[in-house]
Symmetry: C2
Subunit: 193 residues, 2 copies
DNA sequence: CTCTAATTAACGAACGTTCGTAAGTTATTA
DNA sequence: TAATAACTTACGAACGTTCGTTAATTAGAG
């Protein structure tokens, strides 16, 4: 399907150059078309962008949902560290997460409101999933604390820091070192000792 | 000085719209000039951009240097939490940090190499400052651990997560809650108990 | 008079978008 | 089955606009 090829190319250029820096002619050339032909598949640049955005959001959310629905709930250490690994894998094996990150951090100004809604939506859902897990672990005395919100936000902070390092993206060794340090301190901070 | 006014306006538009999305005509209009007049002060768009970039870098670095050279070295808890507050203040009171963050995360493609060098440079320097402090605190048994690199990277992760929340920027309450959680867990993770 | 800063004018190039058209494919009708 | 209608996909050409940049010219200050 040509629409999918177009979205793939668009994803690539939006990720590298941002909304304003990505041109329809470049995207079209990538799939062997003229830019006018894109209009046979999409209403315009905004429509193309928003479809790519929603695909990326869907992919991000479903990965998280699937991971935590299939992970071993009796082992928080493994479950949480495994999620960080998943994020790293996702980021490195396809562009959708990087695209999603770029656009949630720095959305094109005229689509800010739409994007913010999508970002809030996915954040809320992922936070809810994590908070549920942490509440289970607290109840089972597998980690310390009473309110699940504290370890949830703390873990989301670790996720954010991993994402930042991935976005910088130039130094695999540094990523490993920083993840190791953040994880060590985080785990000591929420576990019994 | 008109050059400074131009750089101020450029900072604003580069921050909001990115390099490609910011136009010289908008920047010029902001300071009551025609876009061609910018060329009396700068060689072109790249020159203007790079001067704004280096100003922002200088400001970021000097803030960190100054803070840690004047802070109470006997109280790591206060020193570190104070730095997080400083970052939040800096981010909210002028645009330079947000600009710097945007460009270090997602640089314009044709200036990627130059920017990466600046980013690596400032990161290295700030890491060195922190690592020195942490080594002192470890030696004084104010925090746990042997190698200073672990708490240093862990703290930098907390900083990153704060920056991420600032970039999202839509929810002051959420920033406070997330900072509180990340800080609680981080401090528990590096302190004696 | 000189120098700098700002202007007007103009440049080629690229942008997103629209139009009319020509194929190729699918669906409908006779 | 054959003919026709409708729809999809792609293209050339052109639209008006904006982009960054250069050149020549004017206004103002020391």
């Amino acid at each position: 399907m040509k629409s999918i090829e177009i979205k793939d190319a668009a994803l690539k250029y939006f990720t590298i150059h941002g909304y304003e820096g990505a041109s329809l002619s470049q995207i079209a050339k990538d799939v062997g078309l003229k830019k006018q032909s894109i209009y046979a598949h999409f209403k315009g640049k905004d429509d193309l962008f928003l479809q790519v955005l929603r695909d990326a959001k869907e992919m991000d959310l479903s990965s998280t949902v699937q991971y935590f629905s299939s992970v071993d709930s009796k082992n928080p250490e493994k479950a949480l560290y495994g999620y960080l690994q998943l994020v790293i894998d996702l980021f490195q094996k396809d562009e959708q997460l990087k695209f999603w990150l770029r656009m949630s951090f720095f959305p094109p100004a005229h689509l800010e409101k739409v994007i913010e809604r999508e970002v809030t939506d996915i954040e809320e859902k992922e936070r809810a999933i994590l908070e549920g897990k942490f509440q289970e672990w607290i109840n089972a005395k597998l980690i310390i604390g009473d309110a699940a919100i504290t370890p949830t936000f703390a873990f989301l902070s670790v996720v954010d820091s991993v994402l930042v390092e991935l976005v910088y993206g130039n130094d695999e060794e540094k990523l490993k070192a920083k993840l190791a340090a953040a994880w060590t301190v985080f785990w000591r901070g929420i576990s019994h000792q």
